[in-house]
């Protein structure tokens, strides 16, 4: 059992030592391009708010590409993942893919889950906030440019989505005609990123508005009161004495909920890693095997007349081929054993914790300075250990280690003896050519 926990840790260090320069260079490229795109978006926003928002997509896309590229760099050192990929490829894959097209396909597959993760953890809001701050810097008090985020509330948003849909259609047509396929694939990816980015942000704003509306109707307080009356016995509900804040404790429900989200983040990252390595199910057989009831559901679906199935699949097949991996990724993650999951959660959080302490140690090492001077110094420290105000995705010492750790966990999951014995799981390269065409159609 100890071996299961220790093996990924040893592999993490091995991966880090072997690929450190490549990974650090990738993170640095991400930082440079991310900042560059942010500046370009802000400048474009001064001319046209919609164009600025469209270009902002590139900032988030840069982060995704950096993550995908880092995982891809590690692939040669992950024999179990590679073997599983080869096994799946041998089953029906045609030909090998060029490097760029491969990367573009992987980005397409990881696009929606990545952005969903991005939005759920509030990074989408962070990016938008950073963008509005940069534009405000360029035009103090909104002079000339006005509020660059006003487009988020306007109907013109639909125009933006329609334009990117048209460009995407054109790119798909060009791709079919056979021109430089990987270039058009990249255009398609950018267009899709655009509407996912805008869509998710708008949805999160609407969600806020909906929640505010519900709150203003006092429905929530009634529900909350009901929940509290169930959670706490009546005795504590009345005549509760004043309790000093340092003596109060956080109630169990809150603690459990925050513990759940604390544990969820590493698991989500592992799923993302699994997606990037293209854990793809060509058909849903393996997924159906999860449970007898699910299997029966699949059988029932197959019993539906073919024309009806064709009709339904016309709409869902593109998305099914793309997002079944998510379901399967979750399955493999949860199936890889409690010890491995615990190692994942603890290890991931340990890296975070060490990065935070390294940050603090650096502040002690550098010592006190004026605010403006520290602002400059903090940029240097953030470059090493990541910003304390966001996910540690920019620290050149932390991010490579994190990616190595996730890859090592995934490799350990694939190399588990019980998995090899089963031999039924077939991770594949990213969606194959026919699938891409289905998605693009």
């Amino acid at each position: 059992m100890l071996a299961i926990a220790v093996r990924p840790l040893a592999l993490t260090l091995k991966l880090w030592w072997r690929f450190c320069p490549q990974l650090v260079a990738t993170v640095l490229l991400g930082i440079v391009f991310g900042d560059l795109f942010m500046q370009v978006a802000a400048r474009a926003a001064l001319l046209n708010h919609m164009a600025g928002l469209a270009l902002l997509t590139l900032v988030a896309l840069t982060q995704l590409i950096v993550t995908v590229a880092m995982f891809q760099t590690l692939l040669p050192a992950l024999p179990a993942v590679q073997a599983a990929q080869r096994a799946a490829q041998g089953e029906g894959e045609t030909g090998s893919h060029g490097g760029r097209a491969r990367l573009a396909r992987m980005v397409t597959v990881a696009l929606l889950p990545f952005f969903a993760y991005y939005a759920a953890w509030g990074f989408l809001g962070d990016t938008v906030r950073q963008y509005s701050r940069v534009t405000l810097d360029m035009a103090p008090f909104g002079e000339g440019a006005g509020n660059v985020l006003d487009v988020l509330d306007s109907r013109w948003l639909i125009v933006s989505v329609v334009i990117s849909w048209l460009i995407r259609r054109f790119a798909t047509a060009m791709q079919k005609r056979g021109g430089s396929r990987s270039f058009w694939q990249i255009v398609v990816v950018i267009c899709e990123t655009n509407w996912i980015f805008i869509g998710l942000y708008v949805i999160s704003r609407w969600k806020d508005e909906a929640v505010a509306w519900i709150m203003s109707r006092n429905i929530f307080s009634a529900v909350q009161a009901a929940a509290e009356s169930i959670a706490h016995p009546v005795a504590s509900a009345f005549a509760a004495p004043m309790v000093p804040v340092e003596v109060t404790s956080i109630d169990t429900t809150t603690r459990v909920v925050s513990l759940f989200f604390y544990m969820l983040l590493p698991v989500i990252w592992l799923v993302l890693a699994a997606l990037i390595y293209g854990y793809d199910v060509r058909d849903d057989k393996e997924l159906m095997r999860v449970h007898r009831r699910v299997e029966r559901l699949g059988e029932r679906y197959r019993a539906i007349p073919k024309f009806l199935r064709d009709f339904a699949e016309h709409f869902i097949s593109g998305y099914r081929s793309r997002y079944l991996p998510i379901a399967n990724g979750v399955r493999i993650t949860l199936n890889s054993g409690v010890v491995l999951i615990v190692t994942l959660i603890l290890g991931y959080r340990l890296i975070d914790w060490l990065a935070a302490w390294a940050w603090l140690a650096m502040t002690r090492l550098v010592g006190p300075h004026g605010l403006d001077t520290w602002q400059v110094l903090s940029e240097g420290v953030s470059l090493l250990f990541g910003s304390p105000f966001q996910d540690s995705s920019t620290g050149i010492l932390v991010e490579p280690l994190r990616i190595c750790f996730l890859a090592a966990i995934l490799e350990a999951a694939f190399a588990l003896p019980m998995r090899q014995a089963g031999g039924s799981a077939e991770p594949a390269g990213p969606a194959d050519a026919t699938q891409t065409e289905v998605q693009n159609a």
Binding site: Q22, A25, V32, D372, Q375, I396
Partner: protein, 189 residues
């Protein structure tokens, strides 16, 4: 191609990329640092008096469109109601206005005293000494409507520890000249 040859090729390819990445770090680390800290460095340079321009005693220096000269620096010893071991220090300047757009050029005017350890003191309002009508201070001069060729007399009052009075120099910084500032040498220097 045999599997062994393929493996060898992969390994040499990886080594090549490792070497390339290592070399690229030489360029990428400073570049990323520059990109990240550009705004902070700009703020630091715009908001702080970092690089002194020394002005010899009795000389005047052209700064923010005018000619500045330190005329006097003296301690007002023997005052009561002050914190123990502290001394009020008066710094007098004479400024011959060159460019009269003071509201733009003198914005963020900051007069200070600096000692040999780099400690800085800003003007105080705790000590109120009588000043003649024709003497103002840096901020009031901005709105005095002075024209080109006029001469303004400025005075700032400081409260410094007694032990620091042996090695203090007056200095002046304005937003339009930052990060440079004037550091006036004394007669004894």
């Amino acid at each position: 191609m045999t599997a062994e040859a393929l493996d060898q090729e992969h390994k040499s390819g990886e080594r090549k990329w490792r070497r390339r990445s290592l070399w690229s770090l030489v360029l990428l680390i400073p570049l990323a640092l520059a990109v990240e800290s550009y705004d902070s460095v700009r703020t630091l340079l715009r908001n702080n008096d970092l690089f002194p321009r020394r002005v010899a005693w009795g000389q005047s220096a052209h700064f923010a469109g005018s000619d500045w000269k330190l005329t006097n620096l003296r301690g007002a010893f023997g005052m009561s109601n002050l914190p123990p071991d502290s001394v009020p220090v008066l710094a007098d300047f004479q400024v011959k206005i060159g460019n009269s757009d003071l509201q733009k050029l003198w914005l963020g005017c900051k007069v200070m005293l600096i000692d040999k350890d780099g400690r800085r003191w800003s003007p105080t309002s705790i000590v109120s000494l009588k000043t003649p009508d024709n003497i103002g201070n840096c901020v009031s001069a901005i709105f005095s409507g002075a024209r080109t060729g006029d001469t303004l007399n400025l005075r700032e009052t400081f409260l410094v520890p007694k032990e620091a009075t042996k090695s203090i120099w007056p200095a002046i910084g304005v937003a339009s000249e930052r990060p440079h500032f004037l550091l006036f040498q004394l007669e004894k220097d």
